[in-house]
């Protein structure tokens, strides 16, 4: 299915924003995809509920556009690596701009019971850019964690953008205009996942809408998945090929260890080549074909049956004709 192997790491560059320079604290951030799914789910839910309840009162999305969701991110910090595992939602009082502390504490307690190692690492929000009010919330969270992180998800769908619309900000004390101020600085992060998480997130992300369940779209979706997987394999194999050609022509010094690994890789093909496999494969192929044929047969015969009944009904002599049983019996 998906090409990345277990514990895949992909560096995502944060999209350009109007915020300050990049961070220099030297912390490495690792983000789990579960957090991203959580945040986007939260945002979608709130947006859908607002749309549902505000139906008829406002036609444009003006009111919804301003709604942001907030929550906490939790995880572990080991030395210089900050790993964000999970997240939960928070209630933000829109008037005063302060968090509901009691709720936060209760949630913390609950999560502590299930995951004793995790603690609150920071908070998240949705939106396209960092706002001034965010700093207040950031400072409020500083008594829970002395240096919280701020995760911003941009919910606007931008088809041309290749990277994840997720940015991680840290707060740093910079001297601006003579007075030290806390400002947000962008940090780089990598996506880190374990096999179980990858499978479940993949499964959730590929849930099809219930009305898009026609056979053609499912087939197309399945084939697209396979297509992209093979494409990635193809590009990697091409790199190895180019490397070998370069080695042969002498541009690259001969590296025996790599050559050995490549030779063992190449020996793995063909992946399956025995008589038994051919037999089993052909048998399964024939079974599938037979089943499709049988289903088609059943469909045809039922359609034919319906047609015959319709003709019978429409051409049936009216009851005034004694013994008239219609012309098609």
């Amino acid at each position: 299915m998906s090409a990345p192997s277990d514990s895949a790491t992909a560096t995502a560059h944060a999209p350009a924003s109007a915020s300050a320079a990049s961070s220099s604290s030297g912390l490495t951030f690792k983000l789990h995809p579960l957090v991203i799914v959580n945040v986007s789910d939260h945002h979608t839910r709130v947006k859908a509920q607002a749309a549902c309840s505000g139906d008829g009162s406002s036609s444009s999305g003006e009111t919804q556009r301003g709604s942001r969701v907030f929550g906490c991110v939790i995880g572990v910090q080991r030395g210089r690596t900050v790993e964000i595992f999970n997240s939960f939602e928070l209630v933000l009082d829109p008037v005063s701009g302060s968090l509901d502390r009691a709720f936060l504490e209760k949630k913390q307690e609950l999560y502590k019971k299930v995951f004793p190692d995790f603690y609150v690492l920071g908070w998240y929000s949705t939106g396209s850019d960092v706002r001034d009010t965010d700093m207040q919330i950031h400072k409020a969270l500083m008594d829970v964690n002395e240096s919280p992180v701020y995760l911003l998800l941009n919910p606007a769908i931008n088809l041309s953008q290749k990277d994840l619309p997720v940015t991680i900000y840290e707060s740093e004390l910079h001297v601006i205009d003579g007075s030290p101020q806390l400002i947000f600085v962008r940090s780089n992060y990598t996506i880190e996942t374990v096999e179980a998480e990858r499978i479940s997130v993949d499964h959730v992300a590929h849930l099809k809408p219930s009305d898009g369940g026609s056979a053609a779209t499912q087939l197309a979706a399945h084939l697209t998945g396979i297509h992209s997987a093979i494409k990635m394999l193809n590009s990697r194999a091409r790199v190895i090929h180019q490397f070998l050609v370069a080695m042969k022509s002498g541009e690259v010094p001969v590296d025996n260890s790599l050559l050995r690994q490549v030779s063992s890789l190449v020996r793995r093909l063909p992946a399956m080549e025995s008589q038994k496999f051919q037999d089993d494969f052909l048998m399964e192929y024939n079974d599938t074909l037979l089943m499709t044929y049988l289903a088609m047969f059943t469909n045809c015969s039922s359609t034919m049956n319906e047609l015959v009944e319709k003709i019978n009904t429409s051409y049936e002599r009216p009851a005034t004709r004694r013994g008239g049983r219609g012309a098609f019996m």
Partner: protein, 248 residues
């Protein structure tokens, strides 16, 4: 996966290369060769072969050590037996290693190795000994992974560590890789065609469905009109016209 075996060897190779670079006299180098070929975890000898110090051994009385190293890098037990006159006698460790290397060479050519062939190559007489050897020496040391099929008396190899390459084998590898790339390219193309086909077919289907619905609507409307018209004449004649309209 495969890389662990290589990584383990990388340390040993580095170690031996450093030692060989430090030594200068022929008998010491010969002893080093002996040590390298008996080491239980070392299966790669190209680096050692490439060292200039060892190539100097050729032509001296210790040339047999160089030949031995070459045998371990590229040859099998069969080669040893046919040339046993010119090569020094092997220690049991070396014999075992040579057997392992022979298994690797065999695994390079075919994926399914029959027991008979293996027994002949490795000079063992019964299946039990062969299987013990395969399990203990080859699979536990991580150079080979596969399934033993006792009923069909064959060994299906799924993965085998690479041996040292002779220069012409490099060309073979490049050819195989380009074939692989060609196949996967055509496969990608075919998948894309299938996706387009699925989309087109569903479009055609939808259009057909829509046409059908339109015709049914039309027929219903014409029937309603006719019904209103023929309400006065509810004779058999009217019924005929009624049924004729349905035939459309």
């Amino acid at each position: 996966m495969a890389m662990d075996a290589e990584r383990r060897q990388a340390e040993l190779i580095g170690q031996f290369s450093a030692q060989a670079a430090a030594l200068s006299s022929a008998p010491q180098l010969a002893a080093l060769v002996l040590e390298a070929t008996s080491h239980p975890a070392l299966f790669a000898f190209s680096e050692l072969l490439a060292l200039p110090a060892l190539t100097k051994l050729a032509g001296t009385q210790y040339a047999s050590s160089l030949d031995l190293l070459r045998l371990f890098a590229y040859g099998t037990l069969k080669d040893y037996k046919s040339n046993s006159g010119s090569l020094p006698a092997l220690l049991p460790d070396q014999v075992r290693k040579l057997k392992q290397l022979s298994v690797l060479t065999l695994a390079e050519s075919t994926k399914v190795l029959p027991y008979d062939q293996l027994m002949q190559e490795l000079d063992v007489s019964n299946v039990r000994e062969l299987e013990d050897f395969l399990i203990n020496e080859c699979m536990y040391s991580g150079i080979v992974r596969g399934k033993l099929d006792q009923l069909r008396r064959c060994f299906e190899v799924q993965f085998a560590s690479g041996r040292d390459l002779t220069p012409d084998q490099l060309n073979n590898m490049i050819d195989t890789l380009s074939d692989w790339l060609g196949t996967s390219d055509s496969l990608l193309h075919q998948i894309q065609e299938k996706i387009k086909w699925a989309d087109t077919m569903s479009e055609v289907n939808k259009k057909h469905q829509k046409e059908f619905e339109d015709r049914v609507e039309e027929a219903k409307k014409s029937i309603k009109k006719l019904n209103n018209l023929s309400r006065q004449t509810s004779t058999y004649g009217g019924m005929t016209t009624f049924s004729l309209n349905l035939e459309e």
